[in-house]
């Protein structure tokens, strides 16, 4: 047997686009399966996404349910929902059946109620009940992220019984789900867990109650932050999840938590750039356009507020028109300084290094950077302005305004995400617009009021 070697170059260089198109035109499902299987699943998904919406649905209908489910598992949730909705119900159920229960619940949440009900009706009643149970929990909790099935035994069963069940069961212990044999009492409470090492080294006739240890359990309502701390603190691959009655309802895996944390970081990233509601370009134009406009139109209002400061000083501007050249520069530069502070705070928040109550400490740290960077940038832009427009006092006005506004911007940028978090708002959505509006207003005000004060000197 050859040892297959995973090699970046080899995988990347295969271009299956033309073959996929030909197989699709020939409606050859087996060939499509083979082709998509020959590349990584993420490459396979990209191939499928190059087709139009209608073609895409037809292509997925041609695939084996296994391949279709792999693509849906790989797709971001909002896309996974679309792909399922593009299939006929019976087919959707077939594909659905191949997914893990936690993915099923997540995808179901993306569907219309009607479609969701139709699919649930098609599933095995026990599986459907499991998915319904998962769907009751919020997405960012242990309940929403867990697998609904756990590997359960009773205290008086033997090691041999577990081994026999392992040998016959589909459930593969070494897969990444963090499954361990859990021992539950008559009420379904997890009272023990057996380590793999325990299973490997104990006699086959040993009773589980004699080799089990008490498991740590996680409440189904536990937040993603709690789960992150938990997996940080313990090296385990999974924990049993219990409901309010402390009964075992599922297993939360390290992999599911890691994936949720990554998705959160990427969502934050998107929201910092001004998009609420995880856009993908495969979504319908109307949705993409509307989601972006929602944020932009709020921003228009904030911009008008900032612009009204300029409007109040039109006389000053008319007297020294060169100021208009530097107004956007001062507001843009301060906005950048403020965004840097937002970025550091968002990172420290996500790394768990700061909490809302640390606002004062963060502010002091930003003030020191703000003073230094304000002075440096102020001198730089002041000199540029003097050299360009030939008036040292104009340089003084612009440089001083930028220096002061840099200090304001980093203070706001560093602290605002913490304050938003404290009042329960999403710092990634609101920090940017708040910061920009305040620094714009402050920047315009500083430049124009300083210019008014120094008007006689500016007109020399």
């Amino acid at each position: 047997m050859d040892a297959p070697l995973i090699d970046n170059e080899i995988i990347e260089n295969i271009d299956i686009s033309d073959d996929v198109r030909a197989a699709f035109d020939a409606a050859d499902g087996d060939r499509l399966d083979t082709l998509l299987d020959s590349v990584t699943i993420s490459e396979a998904l990209r191939e499928v996404l190059t087709f139009s919406h209608t073609e895409r649905d037809a292509l997925i209908a041609l695939l084996s349910p296994e391949m279709a489910s792999q693509l849906i598992d790989e797709a971001p949730l909002e896309l996974a929902g679309e792909l399922i909705e593009g299939q006929e119900t019976a087919r959707a159920v077939e594909i659905f059946d191949e997914l893990d229960s936690d993915v099923q619940a997540d995808v179901l949440a993306e569907l219309d109620q009607e479609d969701a009900d139709a699919i649930l009706a098609g599933l095995d009643p026990e599986d459907a009940a499991g998915v319904r149970r998962l769907a009751e929990y919020d997405a960012g909790t242990a309940g929403g992220l867990m697998l609904a099935d756990a590997f359960q035994f009773r205290p008086n069963q033997t090691v041999g019984a577990v081994l026999r069940s392992l040998a016959s069961d589909d459930e593969d212990l070494e897969r990444y789900h963090g499954q361990h044999p859990y021992i539950v009492d008559e009420l379904g409470h997890p009272v023990g867990v057996v380590s793999l090492r325990g299973l490997l080294t104990a006699k086959r006739s040993a009773k589980l109650e004699d080799i089990m240890v008490t498991p740590l359990t996680v409440d189904a309502q536990a937040s993603l932050d709690t789960l992150q701390d938990l997996f940080n603190d313990y090296d385990f691959l999974g924990f049993p999840v219990v409901d309010e009655a402390k009964a075992l309802v599922g297993v939360i895996s390290r992999t599911a938590v890691d994936a949720a944390i990554l998705a959160r970081a990427e969502g934050d990233n998107l929201r910092l750039q001004g998009i609420v509601g995880d856009e993908l370009r495969t979504m319908p134009l109307a949705i993409r356009s509307r989601r972006r406009l929602a944020w932009l139109s709020a921003n228009i209002v904030l911009n008008i507020i900032a612009a009204s400061v300029i409007s109040a000083y039109e006389e000053t501007l008319a007297a020294v028109i060169a100021i208009a050249v530097f107004l956007p520069m001062v507001s843009d530069m301060s906005g950048c300084s403020g965004n840097q502070a937002v970025g550091v705070t968002m990172r420290e928040l996500s790394l768990g290094l700061v909490r809302p109550k640390d606002a004062m400490r963060v502010w002091m740290k930003e003030v020191s950077v703000g003073v230094i960077n304000g002075i440096v940038l102020g001198i730089l832009i002041g000199l540029v302005c003097w050299a360009w427009k030939g008036n040292p006092y104009l340089g003084l006005v612009i440089g001083l305004a930028l220096a002061l506004n840099t200090l304001i911007a980093v203070s706001i940028g560093g602290v605002v995400p913490l304050l938003l978090k404290r009042v329960g708002q999403d710092p990634a959505v609101a920090s940017g617009p708040l910061l920009t509006t305040i620094t714009d207003m402050a920047g315009f005000f500083l430049v124009l009021s300083l210019a008014s004060l120094m008007m006689p000197l500016l007109l020399q």
Copy 2:
């Protein structure tokens, strides 16, 4: 035995700050250990970070090497390096010894050459060799992310031998390192892997060569993207890593890859906000200030280029001073639209849904959004402008400029990250400044040149 329940509220509500301070003042290392152990490791790290630099180093010197190493493991790398450098060499070696080999190599890379050599000299020669080997690989490759030790057997050993070694070994199979018993030939080439299920269900006298399967191996040079695809495609917890001679050099775990991907997403996030080089507020002021200034001063140059467009039209501005009120608004709004497009492209890049060669497809998608949003925003701001300044033609100029500039901004924002990636630049660093400069210039130009064209109407 009570089953300990992980409960968010209980953990959060413990405030150990005063007790930690008291124990530190009393130089009571045992008490500090107990206190820090009573909260999550991330909370423990936050506590330590509330101390000044000098106090922090003294505090860590009081802790047990185990607790100190947990804190260092939890800290972001740049901070971990600082913490190690704050300890005396003998102590640093003790703490270092408790870390996993992949973390050792990462932290070592953060240290001065001198400090790194001193620590390596203090380690067990075999461990030091392992770390040196890891340090040879780039951070974002399988070699840089792997654990240097693998669980190795020979083909003619028995299942019983593996089980005995498991029972005596510290190495815990169920921990998250993705360790499996690998079978290597006389040249160190991995020729087999034994599944846990295989171990559990085979006779103890069975030879490993009879139950082993051929392992998938990963090249030590494999990139993070390749590893991401690999763990996406296979459910395994780990893969054996081989060098150029195809000899086994370590094991790459799913957990290490997930952590690296998360760190990359958070780094992207920071760079999009204008910070290059992963700042933390615990870093020295000079470094923080310098890193931010590096990016800002490049930005000043770009801003001057954009401002020169305004400067070229000072006469137009002087004639209709109200235009100055709307200039920053047009550039800011287009900048926001462009950033939304950057955000979506960055997300699709990190999800693996687009590649640089998809630039044309992405552009077409952005054009449709740009046309719709440009028209909507142009009409909105045009009406505002007309109502505010009482001149419909001024509204027309501003609205038309914003509509056109929105289209330009989303086109650039959507495509520029892909083009930067194609030419080997980091899209997270350069997309924002490039976008802002071009949209500012285009926005100023559109407003002012349209105004010049329509000057007679504007002066009515």
